[in-house]
Amino acid sequence: MIRKNRLNKIYLIIFFLLSVGLITFFILRALEKNIDLYLTPSEVKAADFNQFDDFKLGGMVKVGSLQKLEGLEISFIVTDFQSEMTVIYEGVLPNLFKENSGVVATGSLNPEQNQFIATEILAKHDENYMPVKIEVQN
C-alpha cells in the first residue's frame, strides 16, 4: 500500500515537472512573439527603430492638432511635452478620444515622413478627467 502511494507520488511529481517545463516553453515563445514596446515620442526620437517593427506610442493628444483628412483619415500630434510625433489613423476614433488627454496608439513608423501610422487607437479613461478649476464663494 505504502509503495503504491509512493509510486503515485512519483507519477504526480513527474507530471508536475513536465507540465511546468512545457508551460514555461510555451510562455517564453508566446512572450517573444507578442511583446510591443511602449514608447513616448522622446524615446522614439532618441532611439533608432526599424520601420517594420510595431510598437505602442503613448502620450497626450496635443491641443489643436486634430485634423480630418481624406475619407476617414485623421491626423493628430502626440506629445510628451518634450517631443512630438504626428500620428495618422484611418478609422473611427474611440469615444473617449479628445485633445489634451491620454492616448495609446499601436502601429509603426513611416521614416520618410516622420509619421506614425496607427492601426489601433485606444483612449485612456480615468476617474479624474478634468483640469480642476475651483470657483471660490466668498
Partner: protein, 587 residues
C-alpha cells in the same frame, strides 16, 4: 478561549461595524447635501448630478471605494459572527480579520482620507466622470469589493484550520464562504465585462488589459480553491487546499495594489499615488510573509494523502494544475512589464494574442478533463493505455500548433462535440432517472463549455467596418445593409445628446437602432452610447464617431457573434455556483 471572551469579541465586531456604518453614512450625507467643502465630494459630484449617481459617486474614486471595501470587510466579519457564532474556529478567524481590518484602516486614514476639506466653499463640484454614470458601473465596484472581502473571510477560516485542524464543521463553513466569494467575484467580473461592451464602446468585452487581468488572478485561484475543497474534504492534499486559500486572498491584495498604485500601463487608469502603492505593496508583503510562514510551519502537521491514479480526485488535482497554469500565464503576462520597467527602464506592453494563444489550449484541456470525469467508465483503463492517450493528444496539439492550420476552428468543432455529448448525457440521465445527479455541477460545467464556444466563435467570426455616412445614405457589409436614417439633437438634465437613427437590413428582417453621442454640461466631456441590436446568434453594434464638414458622420459598424451566448452562459454559470453553494448537503 472561554465563552465569555468569545461573546465579548462578537460585541466588538458589532461595535466596529456600527461605527463604520456611521462613518460611511456621514460621507453619504455630504454627497446628498452637495457639501463641496469636502474635497472628495467636490471632485466626484456636482449640483446637476442625478441623486442616484450622487449616491454611487461615494465609491467612484479611490478614497471612497476603499472605505466601502473596509465597510464590507467589517460587515462580512459581522455576518460571519452572526451565522457561525460559537464555532471553535471563530476566535482565530476574528483575530485574522481584525488584523487585516486594522492595516486597511491605517492605510485609509494615512494615505486616503476622504474627509479632507477645503478652507473655502466651492460653488459646484467637478461632476462624476460621465463614464461612471451608468447603472452597471454603479453596482460593479461594490460587488467586486464584496468578492474581495469575502475571500478575506475564507482566508481567515483557512488560517483557523491550520491552528485547530480541519474538522467537518469547518469544512461546511469553508464551503459556504468559498462558494459565496466565488459567486460574488464571478458576478463582478461579468458586470465589468458587460459594462465594457455596452458603455466603453470598444466593441469588446475583454481586452486582456492589466486591470482586467489582475481581477482574473484571484478568480482563477478561487476557482481552483473551490474545487480543491472537494478532494481535501477526504484529507487528500489538504495542504494544497490551504495554500490555494492563502494565495487567493493574497492575489486580491495584489489586485488592489496594481489597480490603485497605477504601476501598470492600463487604458483603465485610476487615481494613482506612489505612496499608496508602496503602502499596499508592503501590506501584501506582510500578509504574504505571515501567512506563508505559518503555512510552512504548520503544513507538516496537516494530514495529507495523495489521490489514487485516475480516480475522480486525481482528475480534480489535474484540473487544479491546469487552472494554476492559466494563472501563471496571466500572472507573468501581466506583471512582466513591471519587472522590465523597474530593472531595465523599458516600458513594454503584451498583446492580447499572448493570452489567447496560450490559454485557449489549456481551456480545451480543462474541458476535456471535466468531461471525461463525467464518464467514470473511461477512467477504468490501464496505465499504458492512459499514457498512450496522453501522448497522442499531446502530439495532435503540437501538430496543430506547428502546421498553423486554424487551431481555432478545430477548437470550435471540438467544443461543439463536447457540448453535444454532455447535453445528451444530461438529457438521457434526466429522462431515465428523472433527476440529474449533482445538477449544479453538470449545469456549471455545461455553461463553461458553452461560454468557451461563444468566446471562440466571437473571436473567429466577428467583423467590423469603419465608414462615413450622410443622413439618408446606406452601405452594404457582410450580407447586411446599414442606413443612416436621421440625426437629431436632444437635451437632458446634465448632458446634451446627438442621436443617430440607423436601420439594418439583414435578409428579410429589419431592425432599428440608435447610437448616441453625449456632451456633458460640466467640463464638456463627450461620451458615446453605443447602439446595439442583439440576437442570439449575433449583435449589430454601431458606434457614432465624429461629424465631418459635409454633414456626414463617421461610424464603426460591427457584427459581433456569440455575445448573447456569452452573457447567457455566464448567467447559467452564476446560477449553478449559487445553487451549489446554498444547497444543504455535500459539494
Amino acid at each position: 478561549m472561554s465563552k465569555k471572551h468569545s461573546n465579548f469579541g462578537t460585541k466588538l465586531v458589532l461595535a466596529n461595524f456600527a461605527t463604520l456604518i456611521i462613518c460611511c453614512g456621514y460621507l453619504f450625507l455630504q454627497f446628498l447635501e452637495d457639501n463641496f467643502s469636502f474635497i472628495y465630494v467636490f471632485e466626484n459630484s456636482s449640483i446637476l448630478l442625478p441623486t442616484f449617481y450622487k449616491i454611487s459617486a461615494f465609491w467612484s474614486a479611490h478614497e471612497g471605494s476603499f472605505l466601502l471595501m473596509i465597510l464590507f470587510l467589517s460587515g462580512s466579519m459581522f455576518i460571519n459572527n452572526f451565522f457561525f457564532s460559537g464555532q471553535d474556529w471563530m476566535p482565530i478567524s476574528n483575530a485574522t480579520l481584525a488584523f487585516i481590518l486594522f492595516f486597511y484602516l491605517v492605510f485609509q486614514i494615512f494615505t486616503s482620507n476622504p474627509f479632507l476639506t477645503f478652507d473655502v466653499l466651492p460653488n459646484n463640484g467637478t461632476d462624476l466622470n460621465p463614464l461612471l454614470q451608468d447603472p452597471l458601473l454603479v453596482i460593479h465596484p461594490p460587488v467586486l469589493f464584496a468578492g474581495y472581502v469575502f475571500y478575506a473571510v475564507t482566508f481567515s477560516l483557512v488560517i483557523a484550520g491550520m491552528f485547530i485542524g480541519f474538522d467537518k464543521k469547518l469544512f461546511q463553513s469553508l464551503k459556504l464562504w468559498a462558494g459565496v466569494s466565488w459567486f460574488t467575484l464571478t458576478f463582478a467580473i461579468l458586470l465589468g465585462s458587460i459594462w465594457a461592451y455596452y458603455e466603453l464602446g470598444w466593441g469588446g468585452y475583454w481586452f486582456w488589459d492589466p486591470v482586467e487581468n489582475v481581477v482574473l488572478l484571484p478568480w482563477l485561484a478561487g476557482t481552483a480553491f473551490t474545487h480543491s475543497l472537494i478532494f481535501s474534504k477526504n484529507k487528500i492534499l489538504l495542504s494544497w487546499m490551504v495554500f490555494l486559500g492563502i494565495s487567493t486572498f493574497l492575489l486580491t491584495i495584489l489586485a488592489s495594489f496594481v489597480v490603485r498604485s497605477g504601476i501598470l500601463n492600463s487604458v483603465h487608469s485610476f487615481a494613482s499615488d506612489p505612496s499608496r502603492g508602496v503602502f499596499l505593496l508592503s501590506l501584501f508583503g506582510v500578509f504574504a510573509f505571515a501567512s506563508l510562514a505559518l503555512f510552512f510551519s504548520k503544513s507538516v502537521f496537516l494530514q495529507s494523502e495523495w489521490p489514487k491514479l485516475l480516480s475522480k480526485q486525481y482528475l480534480l488535482v489535474l484540473n487544479n494544475v491546469v487552472l494554476l497554469a492559466i494563472l501563471l500565464i496571466v500572472f507573468l503576462g501581466t506583471l512582466y512589464p513591471i519587472v522590465t520597467e523597474v530593472f531595465y527602464g523599458q516600458k513594454l506592453s503584451i498583446g492580447p494574442n499572448y493570452f489567447s494563444s496560450l490559454i485557449t489550449p489549456l481551456v480545451l484541456i480543462l474541458i476535456t478533463l471535466f468531461s471525461v470525469e463525467q464518464f467514470p467508465k473511461l477512467l477504468k483503463i490501464n496505465k499504458r493505455k492512459f499514457l498512450l492517450w496522453v501522448l497522442s493528444i499531446a502530439l495532435v496539439v503540437i501538430i496543430i500548433d506547428f502546421l498553423k492550420i486554424s487551431a481555432l476552428s478545430v477548437g470550435l468543432y471540438f467544443i461543439a462535440l463536447v457540448l453535444s455529448i454532455l447535453l445528451l448525457k444530461a438529457l438521457v440521465e434526466l429522462v431515465t432517472k428523472r433527476q440529474i445527479n449533482i445538477a449544479h455541477k453538470v449545469l456549471g460545467h455545461l455553461s463553461v463549455v458553452l461560454l468557451t464556444f461563444a468566446v471562440i466563435a466571437n473571436h473567429q467570426f466577428s467583423e467590423s467596418l469603419d465608414v462615413r455616412l450622410k443622413p439618408g445614405e446606406e452601405v452594404e457589409f457582410s450580407n447586411t445593409v446599414v442606413r443612416l436614417d436621421s440625426v437629431d439633437v436632444e437635451g437632458e438634465m446634465n448632458f446634451d445628446t446627438v442621436v443617430a437613427n440607423f436601420s439594418i437590413q439583414s435578409g428579410k428582417t429589419q431592425s432599428n437602432l440608435k447610437s448616441e453621442k453625449r456632451v456633458y454640461k460640466i467640463g464638456g466631456v463627450i461620451t458615446s452610447e453605443t447602439g446595439i441590436v442583439s440576437t442570439i446568434q449575433r449583435d449589430y453594434h454601431i458606434v457614432l464617431g465624429d461629424r465631418f464638414q459635409d454633414g456626414s458622420w463617421s461610424i464603426r459598424y460591427s457584427i459581433n457573434y456569440g455575445i448573447m451566448l456569452i452573457w447567457i452562459s455566464s448567467i447559467l454559470l452564476l446560477f449553478s455556483m449559487l445553487y451549489g453553494t446554498i444547497r444543504r448537503h455535500g459539494y
